[in-house]
Homo-oligomer: 501 residues x 2
């Protein structure tokens, strides 16, 4: 039986090699590839992905998984071996339900649709993308229908990134959260606006990058097993547990862009760098879910990186790096500037408090489209209407409206956005447990020390990789189910103080 | 029949995608990969290569090639279609003779042997590498024996990089060349030594790189379809005809290292960038042979880049870039410095005249080892003995002796070195034809113009990719077989003048 288990691992590792290779090609495309490389690169990545898919849905893998059922039943549920078989089986059972021809067709469509979006967005030309989006919606519904028996048509799509989550669960959590957020945003925006001019000065690129790298090295991001490069849309990518890279972009007139994207992506990176090395090359060498992954990027970016304690230590260093810009700016003014709350149009630029309202709008629109209650033609106006009702703003054009996010233009409609807000909620929830176990964490942060927090996160979350689902992790770590209270308490505490509510 | 041809192309393109992906991984390993990525990267590249090999030796490819025999016979020999089938058949017939298990075993051995060399070389520890080399020699003989009927046991190994060439052909050419070189080197070294201090000053890295990039852009290297990065051992690599990259290394105390390696690799790169785009993704989108490839790197590096005419145009620009170092140095002194001839120990640092003597030593030792006339234990001393007799020098240790080149430690023994000298010979041969067709090329070079030369090379060599063998190309371009006379005339003319012989 151990021989069959080794054979399963060998096959999964070969598939992982193909997927990791595709990731290298994709990273290169986003960082260093010259323009002439684009055409062939798309084809090369498609070849690698479809070979990986072909090898994964091989009947032999199904047979191995069947044969290993008894072996798995005799193992401890928490063991690496049982978890590997369990996770591989779940992935396999999902993968075989989706015809390879459909996958290839969808990937081709998504790649073309992405190219069209990149061209049409600067020209504010939603009309040009309507047919693509209709096809995307049609195929998203087709995808869901490969998994009959769902409660809501979005469930199979959500399950893809946040396994085990259902639309109804998320709707319940989001509506609880919204009830708290709306009055909070209202109360904040009734106060005097914060001055964020200190961060909106001229900051040279090299100095910005150097500062960010010092901070994330202090966090515990390991540059021996990673690196940072520049790109247009920041991301984290993993080629192996020894090579987890991050990217960023720099705005020389806004300090916060590169800095907080660096802390954010480093959070994702530290998660993957912290996975137990014995899981290397298997489907367990991955994050648990999109929500859990985002919880870590948001923890290091916001809970740590936008906290007053953190800046008590780092602000003097930042002032030293940028004396011209900051020598005259008090810590408190800087702290308020990087935590300015305001209703705005762009999700990725939004502050911690309003951010979730952006996510909820997208999530609700996804559900409506999938339910057939919102036509693609009516999407731009539905977008504007929701922004007006939820944020009191109307974008001057679709560029800053329905065209702003790439997700629907490069992937399915459904399942793409909920992870961001789940991440905020989970980040606060896990952080609460970390504090319970180690009450001196905030004090350490005030001294630029992150070992205790990082070690706790590694031990309780990172090292497990994808052994456990988000629900299982939450139960293990907090002893109960998902709760929004710690997140609400965090927001109210922090912003109540800043805005003297 | 056209359908079968398309099916063959589709399969070959998938294989090319795998090989190109492996090339991206290898480039990344040599440029940006953090140390932690090494272990998994080796495995990933091995997975890609063995999948490519597996797909290439698929019986279905053999069947398609058989079925297409009649179709091929009806086509013009020079057509892209006939050339593709012809080349694919040659490659296929070679590939199926080598068992996949042997390939995997050899790749694993070569990777381990390379690692050991990298560790043992700085410690001058040849002993530690003896067993590896014995195995390499054993496997090189095994490889040759997969191709029974050879005239010399090195022939199948030579055929791998210089298709159609035999040891006896090369021995004949090399001995003719040696007869000319030995007295030339003797005569030169009797003259007063040239002063190369002008190039051995402090030159900042960024300025060196910037200058080299300006020159190769003028040559016609296309940065829209390529880029230059830093590495330890400079190389050129192609991911597609739209993405042909070069690398270099910089010595801040020697101007010539990065500069001439840049011109050299750009020559390789321009060859591949010049291949007809309709050949993309097929086995024809490649150089013709290692000798032909090297002819182009050496042409742009030496025939053009170390010529007096070239520097008449570029030296004032170089002086402007490095006024402190060069303002007081005359063009003539600089020209002589970059063309200094001296007997030396290291092949890669050797000048144009003595370079080939280094190659011949290695080529002869390879043959002796394969013939069983030289044992691995005796190799270091055989190396020293040849350097003493041919160059009058003895390396103080094996570091600058038999340990200096990676080739035998990372590949087969046999077939690895002849291409360098063939390249020198072919470069001069092709250049002679270019001059015959366009006598004003030297004058254009004196004005920093390379269009006529570049266009002629593209039209007569580059665009054909691997459609023709080296012999076919030589016949097409020069109307006759390989001759060493143009190369001898080039060396005697140039160095006779510099050294006033």
């Amino acid at each position: 039986m151990e021989k069959k288990f080794e054979e399963l691992k060998r096959r999964l590792m070969e598939i992982d090699d193909l997927n990791s290779s595709a990731a290298v090609l994709s990273w290169d495309q986003a960082t260093y590839m010259p323009p002439g490389g684009a055409a062939a690169r798309g084809r090369q990545m498609a070849t690698l992905s479809s070979l990986a898919q072909e090898k994964f849905i091989d009947l032999e893998i199904g047979k191995l998984l069947d044969d290993l059922q008894g072996y798995e039943d005799g193992l401890d549920y928490n063991s690496n071996e049982a978890s590997l078989i369990r996770k591989a089986r779940r992935d396999y059972e999902k993968a075989v339900k989706v015809p390879a021809a459909w996958v290839a067709k969808f990937e081709t469509h998504a790649a073309a649709s992405y190219q069209d979006w990149a061209a049409a967005r600067p020209e504010n030309d939603f009309k040009r993308l309507e047919d693509n989006l209709k096809k995307t919606l049609e195929m998203s519904v087709e995808f869901a229908d490969f998994f009959p028996g769902y409660e809501h048509i979005a469930d199979p799509l959500i399950d893809n990134s946040d396994e085990g989550m259902k639309a109804s669960d998320i709707q319940r959590v989001f509506s609880e959260l919204q009830e708290e957020l709306v009055p909070l945003v209202q109360a904040i925006t009734e106060q005097e606006a914060v001055d964020d001019n200190p961060v909106k000065q001229a900051y040279t690129e090299d100095d910005q990058l150097a500062f960010g790298q010092i901070v994330i090295q202090d966090f515990g991001y390991d540059f021996e097993r990673g690196r940072q490069d520049k790109t247009y849309h920041p991301f984290m990518t993993k080629f192996s547990l020894g090579d987890v890279r991050i990217t960023t972009r720099v705005n020389e007139n806004d300090l916060s862009e590169a800095l907080f994207s660096t802390l954010h992506e480093a959070g994702h990176g530290m998660y993957e760098q912290g996975i137990n090395p014995v899981l290397e090359g298997t489907p367990l060498a991955d994050g648990s879910s999109s929500g859990v992954h985002e919880s870590q990027s948001r923890t290091w970016e916001n809970v740590v990186g936008r906290s007053r304690g953190f800046w008590e230590h780092y602000y003097p260093k930042l002032q030293q790096a940028f004396p011209e810009q900051l020598a005259q700016v008090e810590l408190e003014a800087f702290y308020r500037a990087i935590n300015k709350v305001s209703r705005s149009l762009i999700r990725t630029d939004a502050d911690e408090v309003t951010y979730n309202l952006h996510v909820m709008i997208r999530f609700d629109l996804e559900l409506q489209m999938l339910e057939g209650k919102l036509n693609i033609e009516d999407l731009p106006e539905a977008w504007h209407a929701r922004y007006e009702s939820d944020l009191g703003l109307r974008a001057p054009s679709d560029v800053d409206g329905v065209l702003q996010d790439v997700h629907w233009y490069a992937g399915t409609i459904g399942g793409s956005f909920q992870g961001y807000t789940l991440g905020n909620i989970l980040g606060a929830l896990f952080y609460e447990s970390a504090l319970k176990a180690n009450p001196d964490i905030p004090d350490e942060i005030r001294h630029g020390q992150f070992d205790t927090l990082h070690s706790w996160l590694k031990e309780n979350l990172y090292m497990h990789g994808a052994k456990f689902t988000a629900d299982e992790l939450i139960q293990r770590v907090t002893g109960g189910p998902l709760r929004i209270e710690p997140y609400i308490a965090y927001l109210k505490g922090k912003y109540g103080e800043i805005y003297r509510l």
